[in-house]
């Protein structure tokens, strides 16, 4: 049976006075890919950033409700937010490798979290790059500046950097929207592969992508979660008119 890895309970969010999320109740199942779809500005990215508390960085944001990770509310006061973000990693819309070597990009996270042993770091680099399907392309030039890689390679490097700290959940915020179709396909294959070991939540604008890769889909509209179900159900027999309109391309 599928177990719940993360879950939000009546999650509300405000940017200043403006409410951006309304009573979101959404389960994230373990080792599954959950896709969040919806038109621009519907709150799906904002929601995603609640799951690793990245919204904490914006001073005007106010949050109400619970976000449970393995049954514990991550917004409890005694939660170590830095440890939380190690457990819940994130891949961004635009590839953002740091301006350092490929090797240093991967070891950055592990070093921050206290791994100093060179052999162990070497092992992590090889493992993470293999896992991100990048090893064969870069194994001879690990000291090259990461910014000299192509966009698709940079994004896979960011995925490798994320899994290098051994997270449990990986959040992806439109990870392929800045990439060409071939690179997109590679990332999608990679996500399917990663779902064997990790729980993945992905925000996407691309409905074909959601239907291709995800197990569950949540449809957001104007800050509300309109519908959440198995992906086949959402795409074949949506329960709500808005969902049907959106996935059939009538708006959005």
């Amino acid at each position: 049976m599928e177990s719940i890895k993360m879950e939000t309970n009546n999650l509300n969010l405000w940017y200043g006075d403006k409410q951006a999320l309304y009573d979101i109740n959404l389960p994230v199942y373990k080792n599954k890919i959950t896709a969040l779809i919806g038109p621009s500005g519907c709150g799906k990215s904002t929601f995603l950033r609640c799951l690793n508390r990245l919204n904490d960085l914006i001073t005007t944001v106010k949050i109400d409700g619970n976000v449970m990770l393995d049954g514990r509310n991550i917004y409890d006061e005694d939660v170590d937010v830095y440890d939380l973000r190690k457990r819940v990693g994130m891949v961004f819309q635009k590839p953002n490798p740091f301006a350092m070597s490929i090797y240093d990009n991967i070891t950055f996270g592990p070093k921050i979290h206290g791994i100093k042993n060179k052999t162990e770091l070497d092992k992590i680099v090889k493992w993470a790059l293999k896992k991100a399907a990048l090893w064969d392309e870069v194994k001879d030039e690990l000291n090259k500046n990461a910014l000299s890689l192509s966009g698709g390679q940079q994004q896979r490097l960011c995925i490798a950097r994320t899994i290098a700290v051994k997270p449990e959940v990986i959040l992806m915020d439109e990870p392929t929207s800045a990439l060409d179709p071939i690179s997109t396909l590679k990332i999608e294959d990679l996500m399917a592969e990663l779902a064997k070991d990790y729980t993945i939540v992905v925000v996407t604008h691309n409905m074909q992508q959601a239907s291709r890769i995800s197990d569950y889909t949540g449809f957001f509209l104007m800050g509300k979660l309109i519908e959440f179900d198995k992906t086949e159900k959402i795409f074949l027999e949506p329960a709500h008119k808005e969902t049907e309109d959106y996935i059939s391309g009538r708006f959005g």
Binding site: N52, L54, L57, T59, Y82, D83, L84, R85, K86, G89, M90, F92, Q93, K94, N96, F98, A99, M100, F108, G109, I112, H113, N145, L147, C158, R161, T162, V165
Partner: protein
């Protein structure tokens, strides 16, 4: 018929526009030339008047004492002062810059930024009198340390402002990338942002060093001057090239004037040696 008329009008209009454009380019070009002529005049006259004395005295000019016809102690003094000023000013300046970057909206952050902007334009002679009051008088002597602290105050805003601006230019996604890996605030600033902004920060450091290596006013009441022996103790008075030039041009002797021109050339070379790497560093900046 009508269409042809329109065409005629159009070509006339186009020609007028081209003439206007050329006049504009000519004006901009000649005004630019007028502004850079003084710069070339300075460089050329320093080389023309400074080079003969350096050739005449040879290595003595660079390593000898003033009575031997050289400015060795002054060069050593300038290097010592610039080095000490950087050593003292750099850590504080960097931290102040990082602070105003990280807390741009806090009261202290905003005040820091405003004060740094004021310090950039602050009359340097006042810095000299300030250090004289708090250091030279209590110590009872001019010293390299007092001079270096005065220079450090002048270097600080350059490094801080450049640090802050270089950091602010790093796109937000890199900062978020750091946080998403579990970095603390300090780790994001010092390990992610600083690394990515290092060229801009380095530029600020070099500009600050170039600036203080040529300063005279803050040294007038602090460094003292030392031209017959090499400086060894930072608590003793020290000489500097600009200070030496200032002293020599007031002398009636032609020989002194010649040495001053030679010293000016040496100072120009030191200044350019600090400045050219800046241009070089900016050139191969990786576009983010």
């Amino acid at each position: 018929m009508l269409a042809t008329d329109k065409n005629v009008k159009y070509t006339t209009h186009k020609r007028v526009r081209m003439i206007k454009d050329n006049i504009f380019l000519f004006l901009v070009g000649s005004l630019t030339l007028i502004t850079i002529i003084p710069l070339f005049h300075i460089i050329i006259s320093i080389v023309v008047k400074g080079l003969p004395i350096i050739i005449k005295n040879g290595t003595t000019f660079v390593f000898g004492t003033l009575s031997e016809g050289g400015i060795g102690p002054a060069i050593a003094g300038t290097l010592m002062l610039t080095f000490l000023a950087t050593l003292i000013g750099l850590p504080l300046a960097f931290l102040a810059g990082a602070y105003s970057y990280e807390y741009p909206n806090s009261f202290i952050g905003r005040t820091t930024k405003m004060l740094l902007q004021i310090m950039l334009e602050f009359p340097t002679i006042l810095v000299g009198t300030f250090i004289m009051g708090i250091l030279v008088i209590p110590m009872g002597s001019f010293s390299a340390l007092a001079g270096a602290i005065a220079l450090a105050l002048i270097l600080t805003p350059y490094v801080s402002v450049y640090t802050e601006e270089a950091m602010a230019e790093i796109p937000r996604i890199y900062k978020e990338g750091g946080y998403a890996l579990g970095c603390t605030r300090a780790q994001v600033i010092f390990k992610v942002i600083t690394k990515m902004a290092k060229k801009g920060i380095l530029t600020g450091i070099l500009i600050g060093m170039a600036k203080v290596s040529g300063e005279t006013a803050p040294l007038l009441f602090t460094a003292g001057g030392l031209y017959e022996v090499y400086p060894t103790n930072p608590l003793q008075p020290v000489g500097a090239i600009p200070l030496l030039i200032y002293t020599l041009v007031q002398s009636p002797s032609i020989e002194d004037h010649q040495i001053a021109w030679g010293a000016a050339l040496v100072m120009l070379i030191i200044f350019l040696a600090l400045f050219i790497p800046i241009r070089y560093a900016l050139k191969d900046e990786i576009k983010l």
